[in-house]
């Protein structure tokens, strides 16, 4: 309180410091007069009294300075002077200032942009009250040790028996079809139990959230949905929307920042157009649990640790297992803080690796600017010496130089902020669908604090070295040097060489990293995914399960599309390969009839639902037996196909074709197709004909795959019209070529790679300009020596070798250090989005060669200048 008052008084006095000075002057005048009068009263002659009084009181200027000192204004005044001086000197040396500001702005801006992502996604607490008490609950089994959703029965028991939670709420994501004026739009909706919003504790922007007694036909929308699809209607509460033909009443609008569950659409990433979560509906009719195994989120009671709640639920799970060992065998429980559930440790590590890489770029930028200011310092040695000789204290000198470098780094920070702003916007745009919480990334106080810290840190870093060197310099020796030409002492020279070595090393590390990633991208691009993607175009068809839609329509569409001119084959699948979605079952659920089940540990089996033309359309060969045909109808005996992985794993010694199982007769073996991602070999899979499994086909819709003779884009309109003719209520979206689907499946990696590559390129550029700067400075400062050498008969080749040799030496040492660091850093590769093989000799060698060429290339111009020095000209100008 009193400190605050003091601060206020200090500031207010500082604000009217002219007034303060005038007041002081007037006081001093009065004081002097009074002293003078007193002296005269003591019998002193008038003029003597005046002089004596002046002497006694002292110089008013001095007292003013002392009083500024005692007010703590002195350093402010000095600072202002330092800054004025710094601005003048930076403005004079435009080339230096421009280079330094550009370099630093790039470094600081890029680092801050990545930091803003790290901050928004990882560092910032989840935007819910007391987020530390929110946990994600998974039930685990032998099949899925990581765990998955929690079934209704278990959920009920957890809720009844556990005492650790304030509340638990389950939620699941599904696709619904919103009736527009003339067409259907697909919306990803979250079916959530009614306590969902109160568990998370977020208030709506307008209206209200679910109440325990709400009927099933109410809906809470997201802000984006309200704005884009409901036209931002201010009286939206109470309005009806039609989903899958049923009316829902809107009761509330959630703020944009509420995106839970994050990337609902990405949970079914095949249909992720944008990761936004837009619509929440109460799950299940009132009083009845929903179906399936939805995700479960809970809020712990205050003071209950996650571990304690986990052991409590584990005990309950053991009890449930004992009660019904058949359905609950191996039931376990895993609890995870919600923050980790939302942003997985893997994503965190990837972001940190990226942050580390950009940090290296900033370090390089710093090294470059340090080098520049070292040169500048050498050129200014005389000025500094003169100032020191005139009585400037060394502390004052260092402060002056630091003020200058801080001025420079802060200017760079302001320029860099622009870069950060653009970079952050681009990054969130590009990564929005893949990165959870990407919509929360923005320039908040954390980012600004980081920017400021980065500026101060870099400013001190590259300002301190030259300042300390300047301080150490002996004024006399500098001033005595002939003609004011100064060369560097041993210390600064070593520092400069060291900086070049470090720059080369860092650039090497980043370049190796980027090259490794490029190599993996090439590998993935060339991976045989098990299908032929040229000339294939895909359509996603959404359907409401109404009496108007039936399985026959899909067969009809496929058949009519196949007959279109220019079409080779067409077929449906529920979800395209590489769209990373599928239903899995357990290998023990596939039991051959009439013989013992194969003995193997249970493993997950993915289930695919297709129409007969699918395999032809994607060029997936049938290895054995036959494909599905139009005769595998609902009334025909059930048939299935298995892929090679399943055949290998489950029927290693048998020929499975013809085998009858509980799921149907195995009629053939299909080639393995990489379904999850290009980096992962095929999982064991079962294929079913849609006609025999219509009830399994989800509301997500079906993907139509069409192989064209050529020019697949010309087929889009004809296919659309076929679909419209068969069933106008089918929504068509996500029309993409199969190549595009593959590219999209790599998009997060491609983004990651492009960032790494950009950083590496920047590092290379900085390292080469750094090398150039040092070598060309060395060449210039030794020009006289060179002139003498040339005059004594040294030829061009020898002079060129002299300079190039120096550059080559520094580059080689840098490469050596870089190699060491790169090898030491290989474990970091485990954290990248794809499997990255460690670097081999060829790769290291070629990157080293590239950097060597760039480094020596940077020395060519200085070497040329040195070799063509004109001795008479240089020596005469001494």
């Amino acid at each position: 309180m009193s400190a605050l008052g003091e601060c206020g008084r200090w500031l207010s006095m500082l604000m009217r410091r002219d007034q303060v000075d005038r007041d002081l002057d007037e006081e001093m005048r009065l004081h002097t007069e009074l002293v003078e009068r007193q002296l005269r009263g003591g019998g002193m002659p008038a003029d003597e009294a005046r002089a004596s009084a002046r002497r006694r009181v002292g110089s008013p200027l001095r007292i003013r300075e002392d009083s500024h000192d005692s007010l703590g204004w002195r350093w402010l005044e000095d600072l202002a002077q330092d800054l004025r001086y710094g601005i003048r000197s930076l403005a004079r040396q435009k080339a230096f200032t421009a280079t330094a500001v550009t370099t630093l702005a790039l470094g600081i801006g890029a680092t801050t942009a990545i930091f803003s992502v790290v901050s928004g996604v990882v560092l910032r607490p989840l935007p819910f009250p007391r987020p530390d008490r929110l946990v994600q609950v998974y039930t685990t089994s032998a099949l899925s040790p990581q765990g998955g959703g929690v079934g209704a029965v278990d959920r009920g028991e957890f809720r009844n028996q556990s005492t650790s939670f304030e509340a638990l709420a389950s939620y699941g994501v599904s696709a619904r079809y919103l009736q527009g004026s003339d067409e259907f739009q697909r919306v990803m909706t979250v079916g959530a139990e009614r306590p969902f919003f109160s568990v998370l504790g977020v208030e709506p922007l307008a209206g209200r959230t679910f109440r325990p007694d709400d009927p099933a036909d109410v809906a809470v929308t997201g802000e984006a949905f309200w704005r884009d699809r409901l036209g931002g209607d201010p009286s939206v509460i109470g309005r009806l929307i039609t989903l899958d033909g049923e009316p829902f009443t809107i009761i509330g609008v959630m703020p944009e920042s509420f995106q839970f569950p994050y990337g609902a659409a990405s949970l079914l990433s095949g249909v992720a157009s944008e990761g936004r979560t837009e619509l929440w509906l109460p799950s299940g009719p009132l009083g009845q649990p929903g179906r399936g195994r939805p995700s479960l989120v809970g809020r712990l009671k205050a003071g209950v640790p996650v571990k304690a709640a986990e052991s409590e639920l584990a005990v309950i799970a053991k009890r449930l297992e004992a009660q019904s060992p058949l359905t609950n065998s191996g039931l376990g429980v895993r609890l995870e803080p919600l923050s980790e559930g939302v942003v997985s440790p893997l994503i965190r590590r990837q972001l940190f690796v990226l942050f580390g890489a950009v940090g290296l770029v900033l370090a390089l930028a710093c090294a470059n600017v340090t080098n520049l200011s070292l040169v500048r310092m050498t050129l200014r040695g005389k000025e500094v010496a003169v100032r020191a000789a005139l009585g400037a204290g060394s502390f004052r000198l260092v402060r002056q130089l630091l003020a200058e470098s801080l001025l420079l780094s802060l200017t760079s920070g302001i320029v860099g902020l622009g870069l950060t702003w653009c970079g952050t916007k681009q990054l969130t745009l590009l990564a929005g669908a893949q990165l959870p919480r990407a919509y929360e990334v923005g320039l908040d106080w954390r980012v600004f604090l980081f920017l400021l810290a980065a500026c101060v840190f870099t400013g001190v870093l590259f300002g301190l070295a030259p300042a300390l060197i300047a301080m150490r310099a002996d004024a006399q020796s500098v001033l005595q040097q002939s003609g004011g030409r100064s060369t560097m002492g041993v210390g600064p020279r070593r520092l400069r060489d060291g900086l070049v070595v470090a720059e080369v090393a860092l650039a090497f590390v980043l370049a190796v990293g980027a090259t490794l990633l490029v190599r993996e991208l090439v590998r993935l691009r060339n991976t045989d995914a098990g299908m032929v993607t040229a000339n294939v175009v895909t359509f996603h068809l959404g359907h409401r399960v109404t009496p108007r839609t039936d399985v026959g329509q899909f067969y009809e569409i496929a058949e009519r599309v196949t007959r279109l001119p220019g079409v080779r084959a067409a077929g449906f699948t529920q979800m395209l390969p590489l769209q990373n979605w599928g239903w899995t079952s357990n290998s023990t659920d596939l039991r051959p009839r009439g013989r013992p089940a194969p003995e193997s540990l249970p493993f997950p089996v993915s289930m695919r639902y297709v129409t007969p033309g699918y395999f032809d359309a994607l060029g997936i060969p049938i290895r054995e037996g036959r494909a599905f045909t139009a005769t595998d109808t609902r009334d025909a005996p059930p048939v299935i196909l298995i892929n090679e992985a399943l055949a290998r794993r489950h029927f290693a010694n048998d020929d499975p074709v013809g085998l009858e199982t509980n799921r149907g007769t195995i009629v053939g073996i299909v080639r393995d197709v990489r379904q999850v991602n290009l980096d992962r070999s095929a999982d064991p899979e079962l294929y079913f004909p849609i006609a025999q499994n219509w009830s399994q086909v989800s509301e997500l819709g079906m993907s139509l795959v069409v192989r064209a003779e050529n020019r697949p884009d010309t087929l889009v309109e004809p296919v659309r019209s076929v679909v419209r003719q068969v069933n106008p209520s089918l929504a068509i979206f996500d029309v993409k070529t199969m190549d595009r689907v593959i590219a999209d499946s790599l998009s997060d990696f491609t983004l990651y790679l492009s960032l790494m590559a950009a950083f590496a390129a920047l590092a290379l550029l900085l390292a080469s300009t750094g090398t150039y700067g040092v070598i060309s400075y060395v060449a210039t400062s030794r020009m006289r020596e060179f002139a003498i050498r040339v005059a004594m008969g040294a030829d061009e080749a020898r002079m060129t070798r002299l300079i190039l040799g120096q550059g080559a030496r520094l580059t080689a040492i840098g490469l050596g250090c870089g190699l060491f660091v790169a090898l030491a850093a290989t474990p970091v590769l485990q954290n990248l989005p794809v499997t990255v093989r460690p670097p081999d000799v060829t790769l290291l060698g070629s990157v080293a060669a590239l950097i060597g060429v760039v480094g020596i290339g940077a020395c060519v111009a200085p070497a040329f200048r040195a070799a063509h020095v004109d001795p008479t000209f240089v020596l005469r100008n001494e």
């Binding site: 303060v20 009065l30 001095r62 007292i63 002392d66 009083s67 007010l71």
Partner: protein
Amino acid sequence: MRRDEIPPGTLHLLILKTLAKAGELHGYEIAESIARWSDGVLHVEEGSLYPALQRMLVKGWVTAEWDTTAENRRARYYRITPTGRKQLQAEVSQFERVFQAITQVIQTA
């Protein structure tokens, strides 16, 4: 008349005490009062008095206001604040403690 330097650290104490005793004084009067009440032993340097007063203004121990003297000259009058009185008490007790300790040391020697 011999004039002694004010012991370091006691200037604030002297100024505060003077103001507490006399109420409202301008700078010259403060210096004079200290000299008078110390029988001319203590002399406050103008060069330290005014910076000290500025500092005490910031600290909030004194306030200052322009007024006119008896001879109708403009002068800046200082007055002690309640915070200043608290500070005075603290400084007096601290001084007494130190003074007593010093006396003790001198007497044992």
